[in-house]
């Protein structure tokens, strides 16, 4: 019988570092710099928000993990809006440019 071992792909320490970095950006709200670019797009109805974080550090992070990292960072720094967020998406700048959502 074959033996198949499936390890959890994410490194918990790296995960925390990503959450820390985005939470720091949410706190500082810097205008310039190499950190994550956070776009909060207010929706027309209901005060809901789509959050896109454009950051080249995402390159080695599975796309499935990025939204959860963003939500964890918001939970820490912007808990007031957490229930308003309906979309959380992390993209590298190349990915964002290719999808036409880098503005």
């Amino acid at each position: 019988m074959p033996f198949i071992e499936k390890k959890y792909p994410s490194d918990p320490a790296a995960y925390r570092q990503f959450v820390d970095a985005i939470a720091a950006e949410l706190k500082e709200k810097s205008v310039m710099g190499p950190g994550p670019r956070i776009i909060e797009e207010q929706q027309r109805r209901g005060g809901f928000i789509h959050v896109t974080v454009i950051w080249d550090e995402w390159k080695n992070v599975p796309v499935e993990d990025r939204g959860r990292i963003i939500m964890d960072a918001y939970e820490r720094e912007r808990n007031d809006v957490i229930l308003k967020i309906t979309v959380a998406l992390g993209l590298t700048s190349d990915e964002a440019h290719r999808l036409g959502i880098d503005t």
């Binding site: 109805r45 959050v51 796309v63 499935e64 939204g67 979309v87 959380a88 998406l89």
Partner: protein, 165 residues
């Protein structure tokens, strides 16, 4: 004259009623049609992308109709999309807008997606949209292997998750 379909022509055999169930069946058929083109020798990649785009469109529409409470056998129509207050599409083939309509509708009816899941849905819809629109049929253009793989992966994600959309 070819009469494999019996005495009626193909168009005559088409049901005049579209339903969520028929949408999902059609999406599955178009998915495998696209897959056959994508894996065929010769440059049939554009045809594959053309069909894959419709698979995404049909599955998102079926998900929306189900989200507004229509049964599998109930007739569906574009009026429900057009009339929805959250609809912002440029036309009814707008894949991004269909995905965001679904996200918005689910949120407003108290059954929201997890935002991280909604992010994946938005990303895969945007990926299809970046490579496809319905007017491709009029265009003379070739698609690369990378493009067909990119569209295939996103449509496959939508298809794999169609039961929870």
């Amino acid at each position: 004259m070819i009469t494999d379909g019996g005495t009626m022509s193909l168009r005559a055999r088409l049901s005049t009623v579209e339903t969520c169930g028929s949408f999902r069946t059609a999406a599955e058929e178009r998915f495998w049609d696209g897959f056959a083109l994508a894996t065929e020798c010769g440059d049939r990649r554009m045809g594959a992308i053309y069909l894959f785009g419709y698979v995404a469109e049909i599955l998102l529409k079926a998900a929306f109709y189900r989200a507004i409470g229509l049964a599998d056998t109930a007739p569906v129509g574009l009026g429900a999309i057009r009339a929805h207050a959250s609809w912002q599409g440029r036309n009814f083939h707008d894949i991004r807008a269909l995905a965001l309509l679904l996200v918005d509708h689910r949120r407003q009816t108290g059954a929201p997606f997890d935002p991280a899941f909604a992010g994946l849905l938005a990303m895969h819809a945007a990926t299809v949209d970046a490579n496809w629109n319905e007017s491709l049929r009029y265009r003379e253009i070739s698609a690369s292997d990378a493009e067909v793989v990119e569209v295939y992966r996103s449509v496959e994600w939508i298809r794999d998750n169609a039961h929870v959309l």
